[in-house]
């Protein structure tokens, strides 16, 4: 497989990859550039790869048409809480399943893994009833609690468990001899060494929460409470037609911060994901 390639082969490979890149890169690029074009230029053909004229008033319109700043905050703080909560719960559970001997641990682990087979799409009707009973409809509680305890956190627990299983047992034994109890071993030895796995868990969880769509439209009813994915689909004119330029401006704003974080930390991103224990 890995022989040194001839120059012709190299050129061919680069060419192939550049062509393949188009559907991956063009939509994002087009979204960003179109969001600063006047609406008439968006439909110009062939499309301009760089905007001929800039029109930033659409960005202002995003905030006029909807409480977009508030919606942005909603999405951001929900995703932050879900990510933090999942990291705490799944690193503890993953550690215990990997490292601590206690009765029925395997049986309990199987029960927890069941959660992977039961995505919230399956249980959305009773979840709606449960949160209705708790008076939490049109609040953010369902969007926080369901992912922290449901399938996404089970996946996170699985990833953490795989990581901790691979951690040398001797390190913990040394720590026990050094005088540490379980909680301290977890906190000062196991967790600091689990940063790659925690990073992967954080990325998965954040993106999952950031992209949630079914839950918000089921649980939320007032625009003040909306999250970004839901808000993006609400930019329509009086006839229900999409207001493309405004939608693209709003979409760009939801995409840019995560993209920037990704570009800065792409190495940690990619390597974190590669170390999720899914390598087999």
């Amino acid at each position: 497989m890995k022989t040194d390639l001839s120059p012709r082969m190299k050129t061919a490979l680069y060419g192939l990859m550049c062509v393949l890149l188009i559907p991956f890169v063009f939509p994002t690029w087009w979204m960003i550039t179109s969001s600063v074009k006047p609406i008439s230029d968006i439909f110009a053909f062939p499309p301009d790869l760089w905007p001929r004229r800039f029109d930033l008033t659409t960005y202002a319109r995003v905030f006029e048409l909807q409480p977009f700043a508030r919606q942005y905050w909603n999405s951001a703080y929900i995703a932050a809480l879900v990510t933090a909560g999942t990291m705490v719960i799944s690193s503890m559970a993953g550690y215990a399943f990997a490292r601590i001997k206690f009765p029925f641990s395997n049986a309990i682990f199987m029960v927890v893994l069941l959660g992977l087979l039961i995505p919230s799409e399956v249980t959305i009707v009773p979840l709606f009833q449960i949160f209705l009973g708790w008076g939490m409809i049109n609040t953010h509680w369902p969007l926080i609690l369901v992912p922290i305890f449901g399938a996404p956190s089970v996946f996170a627990t699985f990833v953490m468990r795989q990581f901790f299983i691979a951690l040398p047992n001797e390190l913990e034994e040394a720590a026990r001899v050094d005088g540490l109890g379980r909680f301290k071993i977890f906190w000062t030895i196991a967790l600091p060494l689990a940063k790659p796995a925690l990073g992967a868990v954080a990325i998965f969880t954040f993106l999952h929460s950031w992209n949630l769509y079914l839950e918000p439209i089921v649980f939320l009813s007032s625009t003040q409470m909306f999250t970004l994915p839901q808000a993006l689909t609400q930019f329509t004119d009086a006839y229900g037609g999409a207001m493309w330029n405004i939608q693209l401006a709003a979409a760009t704003m939801t995409a840019i911060p995560v993209l920037l974080v990704f570009i800065v930390a792409q190495k940690q991103f990619v390597e974190g994901l590669a170390h999720t224990g899914l390598k087999g």
């Binding site: 040398p168 001797e170 390190l171 034994e173 040394a174 720590a175 026990r176 001899v177 050094d178 005088g179 540490l180 109890g181 301290k184 030895i189 600091p192 060494l193």
Partner: protein, 348 residues
């Protein structure tokens, strides 16, 4: 410093029994090596002394105190692990001071102890490094440093040299021994390498199949092995064994009669043991046909057939003969071991 006493210690995992009643008395300041083939239970026993494995039955005392139900941290022991178990995310200094940190030492006190230990082990210039930046030998020293800063009553070593290359192993062997002489702390050392056991121990405990085969000073074990297992385990190359029957002429075996000095009852079925280095070349000796010659420079190791038996000899002389030719050998009459064929026990 403290003596360590094991009283009928047993260990089982469910129905599987791995240690069947171990009794060992380790004196204050003694260097004891537990040695045996893999799976003999030596590491399990060490880990039970450390408190890393629960004790199924019997009692372990450290300094006269039963420690069966004590956490490792409350046993006042320090342990050096096979793979060093250095915390990868901490510097050498933090690694070494870590246990003191959790025992409530003051910062200055910890720094002083770490400096002291680093001085002894020649680690002073490495204190700010991380484990991944160290060589195998340096990591080994840090692992030892971590053990000595605490000034524990007992040191436990679990095959600490098995990850080092042969040359470094000899160096570290000397260092550990030197450290013991300097600090005089009771030490229990586990290894599968009988050379390590012979060179380092005050006393050796030979274990096999979850039982103690023999306890004694290295040369006692070499000179007077209590049974076939110890005889075969201690010494390299291993002792030759030939089965036969004791008669007036000596031990009669298939195709050969071997000289005897022991006064075993006539007609006893016995195993005759002679170490390769206790065979000498002699013109009037027993004829043996050479199958393999391995010159080592200082000595020559020869594999040969004596009667129907394949045996090994180690000779100081250089041997000009070639495989297929016959040489004449004689066992050193003062170094013959005789074991009962049915019990495997030594016959005096």
């Amino acid at each position: 410093m403290a003596p360590v006493t094991l009283k009928s210690v047993t260990k089982s995992y469910g129905a599987t029994s791995v240690l069947h009643g171990i009794d060992i008395d380790i004196a204050d300041g003694e260097f004891v090596v537990l040695v045996g083939p893999s799976g003999c239970g030596k590491s399990t026993l060490l880990r039970m002394i450390a408190g890393l494995e629960t004790i199924t039955g019997g009692a372990i005392e450290i300094g006269g105190r039963v420690v069966n139900d004590l956490e490792p941290k409350d046993r006042d022991i320090a342990m050096v692990f096979q793979n060093y178990a250095l915390y990868p995310h901490m510097t050498v200094a933090t690694n070494m001071g870590f246990s003191l940190e959790h025992r409530g030492g003051s910062k200055a006190e910890i720094a002083e102890r770490v400096q002291w230990a680093a001085g002894i082990l020649g680690l002073t210039h490495l204190l700010d490094r991380y484990p991944r930046q160290l060589s195998g030998g340096q990591r080994q020293r840090v692992a030892m440093g971590r053990a000595i800063v605490r000034n524990p009553q007992v040191f436990l070593f679990d095959e600490p040299l098995s990850n080092l290359d042969a040359k470094l192993r000899v160096v570290m062997r000397g260092e550990i021994k030197g450290l013991h002489q300097r600090l005089g702390v009771t030490t229990v050392y586990v290894t599968h390498d009988q050379v390590e056991a012979m060179t380092m121990a005050d006393r050796i405990v030979v274990m096999n199949g979850g039982k103690v085969e023999q306890v004694g000073a290295p040369l006692d074990l070499y000179d007077r092995p209590a049974n076939l297992f110890v005889a075969g385990f201690i010494g390299s190359p291993a002792m030759n064994f030939i089965e036969g029957i004791v008669t007036n002429e000596g031990l009669v075996a298939l195709g050969v009669t071997l000289p005897l000095t022991n006064s075993a009852p006539l007609g006893t079925k016995a195993t005759y043991g002679i170490r390769p280095e206790n065979l000498t070349l002699a013109a009037d000796g027993l004829p043996a046909k050479i199958t393999l010659i391995e010159p080592m420079g200082s000595e020559t190791q020869v594999t040969m057939t004596l009667g129907d038996h394949t045996i090994t000899g180690v000779f100081r002389e250089r041997i000009a003969a070639r495989p297929g030719e016959t040489i004449h050998i004689r066992p050193d009459l003062n170094a013959i071991h005789l074991f009962d064929a049915s019990t495997g026990l030594r016959i005096e």
